[in-house]
Symmetry: D2
Subunit: 275 residues, 4 copies
C-alpha cells in the first residue's frame, strides 16, 4: 500500500473488507511536546503487541518507518502549538490521523475536576485480556455518554474494584502512599500512568500498585487522573461530595510540578527521535 | 446524506469522524430466501434498540425506506442464488453491504460438525449489556482466530455458564427437553434462535431457556447450533470426544426438517415485505 | 427427649453424634420486652425453614410448645430486666439458652458508633443460600476477631456490594430515601430490619431495598445499624472518616423515636403470646 | 482442663460457652495403619494453622502430648482393625473421638464409583479462605444431603471451576497427565491428595495442579477421588454417563497399587510416632 496524505474531508478507507466486518480496530493516541512525538516507541510496542495477539501485525510498518511518517506528518500539519496523533490499525490498513492537541483549561489544574462512578462495568483482566487496546469497548463509550458535568467517570470491575476512567487512569494518595489499581483489575496501563509511577519512585515516594476497592476512593487524601493529552489532572470532587476544600499541596502538586521536566529528559520517552 | 450505490472496490467511508474514533459500529446480518430479505423487521428493531442505547439512532432510516433500499440492492446484485446483507451503522453512516450467501456444504447437515470450548470468556449480561450487537467484541474475534478444525467454539461466561458460539447460538437436547442458554448468561439472541424456539413450542416440544452449566453440553443427548446463514447445524463431536455415532434422528432432525417450511410461512418473518 | 432445665455449668450435650460431626447448628436470638418474647413466631418460622432445608426439622417442637417452654424459661430466670434467649437446633437437640440482655450504653444512641469495612467477603445469595442461619459462618466470626474500636464491620460480597455487619443489618439514608441491601446481595434479613422497613413504610418514607454498592455508604447522608439486642444504632464514623458532625436529626432519629412504640403494638410481633 | 476418657454415651461438653455460640468448630480426621496414627503431624500442623487464624490455638496441646493421648486412645479402643480418630477443637475444648474405621467394600476399588455434580457452590479461595477446616460449611453438608446413589458429588466454585467433593479431593488423567484442582479454586488440600501428588512425582508422572474447568471432568481419560478413610477411589460413571467401560488399567491402577507401600515408608507421614 502506498502512503497517502489526505485532508480531513478525504480521509476515507474501504470498508468492504474482513477487518471492518470483524471490527479489528486497534489504536494509540500520541501527543507532541515541542512538536516532537512523545513516547512513540512505547506506543508502537504496545500497538505491535496488541496486533500480534489478534494476528494483524502485518499491517504495521517498522519503527523507523513510523518515525519518519510521523515526523513528516507533523511537518505537514502547520498548526500552531502541539499535535495529537491517532495511530489506527484497521485490519491491514495503517492510519495516522493528525489534529491539533486541544488546549486544556488552566482551571482543571488549579481548581481540580469532578469525577463520578460509571454505571457500567469494566470486566477484569480475568474476563477480558486488557492488553488489547481496542477502539470501542462498550463500557468505555457507554460511560462517555453519561459524563454529565464530570471530567470523567471511573469504572469498577465485576468485583467492585476500581479500574480506570473512560479515557484516564486514576491514582489515590492515602497515608502518604501513592496508590493505583493493578492491571489485573482491568485497565489500559497508560504511558502517562507509567511515567507518573516512575517519577514517584524516582522521588522516593512509597508506591502501591494493587487491587483497590471502590470505596477507598472516598477515603483518600488526594485523587488524580492521568491521560496523554492533559498529563496529571487533580480531582476536587467525587460524586457531588466535596473531597478537597482547597487545592492540594500534597503529592499531586509535587508530581504535577515535576512531571514535565521528568518526562522531557527521560531517555526512553524519546527513543528513536532525533532532536 | 444521499444514497450511493458502489462496487466493492469503491466502498469507502470517511474515517476522520467521531464514530470511528469511538468505535461506534453496530451491525446486523440478514439473509434472503427466494431473494427476499428474511426477518428484516426483527433485525431492524434490534439495530434500532442498540442504536438508541448508545445515542446514534439518528443515522437509521425508517423501516419503509430500509425495505426499499434492501429490495433495490437485491435487484442490483444479480448473482445467482441467495444474498447475505450486512447492515452497518457506523456512527451516523448507514451502510448496506450485499454479497452472495456462501453455500453450505451438505456434509455439515448430514454428518454434523465439531465444536470446542473457547479459551476466551464471554462476559455475562450482568457485566456487559448483551443487547448491543457491536462489531468486534474481543471475545468473539479472538475466538474466531482459534477455531482450528472446529465449526465454531462455544464461549462460557465468568461463572462457567454456556453462552453462545462466536457466530452461532447453541441448543441442547436432554431427557426429551430442548434447552438453550438464557440471555442473562450473555448472548446475542439470534433471529434463528428465536425461530427455532417458536417452532419447537409450536410442535409442543418441552422447552427450557435457562442458565446452562458448561458441563451439561457433555452429557446432552443432542447438540446443535443456529445462525442466519446456515439455519440449524447438528453437532457431532465436542472437544475431540465423539458425541453422536450416527446422525441424530432425534429432535435436531425433526427441527431441521420443519425449519424452512415454518419460517417461510410465519408472518412476522416477512413483515413489510410484499411478495 | 425429655425437657431438662439446667444451670449454666451443667448445660452439656452429647457430641458423639452425627449433628456435631457435620456441624448442623442453627440458631435464632430472641429478646424480651417487658419480659415477653419479642417476635417469637417470626424467629420460629425462620428456624423451621432453615431446618427443613437441611432436613433436621424433626428436632423442633411445635410453636405452642415453644411458647410454653420460653415462658417457663423466662419465669425461671429471675434476673432483673430483659432476657436474651438463644434458640439452638443442634442436629436433633433443641436447646433454649437464657441470659440477661446486655444493657446498651446510652452513648451509642446519643453519639453514634464507628463502623469499618470487613477484610472478609460475604458470599452473595447466588453462592451461598442466605436463608440458612448457621452458627459459625467463617466470614462472620473472622470479622468479629477484627473489630478493633469499631462497633461492627460491614461485609461486602464478591461483587463489592454492601451486605450486612457481622451481627447487624445496615441502612443508609440518601436524598431523602431509606436504603438497605437486598437479600440477593447476601444477608440474614433480621427481624429488626423487617420492623424498621415496615415502620418506615407506615410513616410514608420512600424506601429502597436494592443492591447497594459499597461506596454508596461513603456518600450517604445518614447510616444506621439494626440488631435484636440494641434496635437501631446510629453510625457516626466510617473507616476513620467523620461522617456526621452532630448527632443526626434526620430519618435515623425519627425511626429511633418511633421504633419501640411501633413494634410493641404491632400484632404480628406478639403472635401466640398472651399478655 | 483434665483429660477425660469417656464412653460414647457420656461424651458431652458444656455448650453455654462462647465457642458454641460462635460456632468455632475445627476438626481433622486421622486414620490408623497397623493401629498407628497416619500423618498425625501433618494433621496437627493444619489444625494449628486454622486455630491461629481464628485465635483459638490456646486449646491445642503440644504435639508430643497429642501423640501420647492418641496412642493411649488407640490402646483403650480394643476394636478389631483400624481406627478413625476425629480431632475436634470446639473453642477451648480439645476432643479426640475414636471409632472403628469403616471397612470399604472391595467393589469400590474394583468396579469404581459413580459421582455427580453438586447443585451447591463451593466459594473459591478469593471469597472464603480455604485453609480453615471448619465443621459444617453449608456447601458440604447440603451436598451430602443430595448424594442419592453417588459416592460423592463434586462441587464447582462461583466461576464454574472444579473444586472437590463433599468429603473427597478429585484427580483427572488426560493426555498422560495427572491433573488436580489448584487450591485457589477453593478446596481442602487433603493429606491423601498430597501423598498422591508426591507419589506421582516420585514415579515421574507429569503432574498439573491448576484451575480445572468443570467440563474437563467429562472429557478425562480417568477420574479418581481421594480421602483419608479410603485412599484412592476410581470413578466409573459421572452424572449417569458411562465414563469407563472396564476398570482402568491406566494411571489410577498404578497409583492405587503403589499408594500404601509409598505412604507406609515415607518418613514425614510418621513423624513423632515410634514403631
Amino acid at each position: 500500500m502506498a502512503n497517502q496524505w489526505q485532508f480531513d474531508e478525504d480521509t476515507s478507507i474501504n470498508i468492504k473488507s474482513e477487518w471492518f466486518i470483524k471490527g479489528l480496530l486497534l489504536y494509540e493516541v500520541v501527543r507532541t511536546y515541542n512538536r516532537l512525538p512523545f513516547a512513540l516507541k512505547k506506543h508502537y510496542d504496545r500497538l505491535l503487541n496488541s496486533a500480534k495477539l489478534i494476528g494483524i501485525e502485518d499491517g504495521i510498518p517498522d519503527f523507523e518507518k513510523l518515525v519518519s511518517l510521523v515526523m513528516e506528518g507533523i511537518e505537514r500539519n502547520k498548526v500552531d502549538g502541539e499535535l495529537r496523533i491517532r495511530i489506527v490499525l484497521a485490519g491491514k490498513n495503517f492510519l495516522l490521523l493528525f489534529e491539533k492537541l486541544p488546549e486544556m483549561s488552566k482551571d482543571i489544574y488549579e481548581l481540580g475536576v469532578k469525577v463520578g462512578i460509571s454505571p457500567f462495568i469494566r470486566p477484569s483482566e480475568a474476563i477480558v485480556p486488557g492488553m488489547i487496546k481496542l477502539i470501542g469497548t462498550p463500557w468505555s463509550f457507554l460511560t462517555r455518554t453519561h459524563l454529565g458535568d464530570c471530567y470523567d467517570l471511573l469504572l469498577l470491575n465485576e468485583r467492585g474494584e476500581l479500574c480506570e476512567g473512560s479515557f484516564t487512569n486514576v491514582f489515590l494518595v492515602r497515608d502518604e502512599k501513592l496508590i493505583t489499581p493493578h492491571e489485573s483489575s482491568g485497565l489500559l496501563p497508560g504511558i502517562t500512568r507509567e511515567n507518573v509511577l516512575e517519577l514517584a519512585r524516582a522521588m522516593e515516594m512509597e508506591v502501591e500498585v494493587r487491587r483497590v476497592m471502590s470505596w477507598e476512593l472516598f477515603i483518600a487524601d488526594e485523587v488524580f487522573l492521568t491521560h496523554t493529552s492533559a498529563g496529571i489532572v487533580p480531582v476536587r470532587r467525587i460524586e457531588n461530595k466535596i473531597l478537597i476544600e482547597e487545592f492540594p499541596d500534597g503529592y499531586t502538586r509535587i508530581l504535577m510540578d515535576n512531571f514535565e521536566g521528568y518526562v522531557m529528559t527521560k531517555e526512553d520517552n524519546w527513543k528513536g527521535i532525533s532532536f
